[in-house]
């Protein structure tokens, strides 16, 4: 019996337990959530050396992989699980010090997000991936709206409509690959990809890409970013880029490199290589995101656009198609996740102490509170 499945099951069960138990215990909910996600994060770190030695498929329920749903553990997926779990643990820890500490459903949503993101990262089945993507979406809409104000409701609703419309295209992609290859298992799909004609493989690839690019905040699909980041509590804005965005970027790697492979990635459409189109989108996103960040007065919108720019850099590195490029993209993803999460948490504390999110009005914060002033340094 392999216990890897606990990374998905334990947070989901704890999330539902927290929602039910909020009837009689309100105080302990946050500490229970912290215990669960902290323990899972440490455990993922201890599993990492073993995962580096080689990837293993994990069979669930005794169904052999092409027929049943399996998980896939290797250095990349276990490392991403450790990163995402660590970021969410940090978020819960921050939340315990905050005014929202007495809302058990908030921690339930955090654990729901943790379980579904781990599922997205670990699963070896394309449809299972879709299900976890939708669950993580629902947890995110709830968390964004948790600040219970005008901006929160607006940001959550816009994000829901755009992500919901984009995820429909993921199902179109699933229908296309299932029709041509007769399988939904990712490893099996990669093997049977030559059964698809070039044109339909491209359309399927674009369909899979649309929701992933939307959640990774890439240029034509990132209209939701400013409203959603502004409306969400700072900690949730941090998770949007450090956990949700990074998990989506990881899924892009999974679909591009491992399923469609360099052969389809390098296909020429209308005189332009697919990889070159992605390179263009990545550069455009990086430049536009950082330019938009420069002109923001609102600290949260500034960090939101900077996060867009960083994800554009990640896509640029990814579309260079090579193992060195992938190392660069992964390094950028990890450092971006940690830095942006900590920046959003610092901004949350500063907004709490000054009462404004306009960073030009933050003059003198460091003098009044030296420790907090240091927090803004990177």
């Amino acid at each position: 019996m392999n216990w890897t499945v606990s990374f998905i099951v334990v947070p989901l069960f704890t999330a539902f337990f927290l929602l039910v138990s909020s009837l009689w215990m309100r105080r302990l909910a946050g500490y229970l959530a912290l215990l669960v996600s902290g323990a899972l994060g440490l455990w993922a770190l201890t599993l990492l050396p073993e995962a580096v030695r080689g990837g293993t498929p994990v069979i669930i329920g005794g169904w052999i992989p092409p027929y049943g749903i399996n998980l896939y553990v290797d250095a990349l997926s276990m490392g991403m699980v450790a990163l995402v779990t660590g970021m969410i643990t940090l978020g819960i820890l921050f939340q315990l010090t905050d005014g929202m500490a007495k809302r058990p459903y908030f921690y339930g949503l955090m654990l729901l997000l943790l379980g579904s993101l781990n599922g997205m990262i670990l699963t070896g089945d394309a449809f299972n991936f879709f299900v976890f993507m939708e669950i993580s979406g629902m947890a995110t809409y709830g968390l964004v709206a948790a600040s219970r104000n005008r901006a929160g409701a607006r940001g959550a609703f816009k994000y829901l409509v755009l992500a919901g419309a984009a995820s429909v295209f993921f199902l179109v992609g699933i229908a296309m690959v299932y029709r041509s290859t007769g399988t939904l298992n990712m490893a099996d799909l990669a093997r049977r990809m030559p059964l698809m004609t070039g044109g339909s493989a491209l359309v399927a690839m674009v369909s899979f890409m649309i929701p992933l690019l939307l959640e990774a905040e890439i240029f034509p699909l990132n209209a939701w970013v400013p409203d959603t980041y502004k409306g969400a509590p700072s900690m949730v804005s941090g998770l949007l880029s450090a956990a949700v965005g990074v998990a989506s970027a990881y899924a892009l790697i999974r679909f591009f490199y491992f399923i469609f492979g360099i052969t389809y990635f390098g296909k020429v459409v209308g005189g332009v290589k697919v990889a070159h189109m992605l390179l263009g989108l990545g550069i455009l996103t990086a430049v536009l995101g950082e330019l938009a960040a420069l002109s923001q007065k609102d600290a949260k919108k500034l960090l939101a656009w900077s996060s867009v720019g960083q994800m554009g850099m990640v896509l640029t590195a990814l579309s260079l198609t090579g193992s060195m490029a992938m190392h660069a993209a992964l390094f950028l993803m990890v450092s971006h996740a940690v830095a942006k999460m900590l920046l959003f948490l610092s901004v949350g504390v500063i907004i709490r102490s000054t009462g404004t999110s306009n960073w030009r009005a933050w003059k003198g914060v460091g003098r009044r509170n030296p420790l907090l002033g240091r927090g803004g340094w990177r």
Binding site: V131, L160, I351
Partner: protein, 120 residues
């Protein structure tokens, strides 16, 4: 009617829904447009497992080898069931958020918000 008809029908529904999502301003109409998109993709998925003259996939031990070809593929139908449940959940959540939007903004139309407010 061949399976191409159903694929085409589903695709047209997705495009109608997408047009709605991109152009409408009313929050409740946006949710309706999302529902139309989901219905369209469900039709495509069901049509993937079906071919003209396919039998209901209830199979006993007498069916062997090439005999399976006469039946519809049940797996896409199972996928559609899951997709319908997810769609229901998303729609319910969207309606709650739409109500929250309407209560906090006093209108059910998106757009035109310029107020500055502080969110911790």
């Amino acid at each position: 009617m061949g399976e191409l008809f159903y694929h085409g029908l589903g695709f047209v529904l997705i495009l109608i829904g997408l047009y709605g999502v991109l152009t409408l301003k009313n929050v409740f109409r946006l949710i309706l447009a999302l529902g139309i998109m989901e219905t369209g993709v469900n039709i495509i998925l069901v049509a993937t497992g079906w071919h003209p003259g396919a039998k209901v996939p209830i199979i006993d031990t007498t069916v062997q080898g090439a005999g399976f070809a006469a039946y519809a593929d049940p797996l896409p139908s199972a996928l559609v069931l899951t997709a319908i449940v997810i769609g229901l959940g998303t729609t319910a959540l969207a309606l709650v958020l739409a109500l929250l939007y309407k209560e906090s903004h006093g209108t059910d139309e998106l757009g035109g918000e310029t107020e500055e407010e502080v969110v911790e």
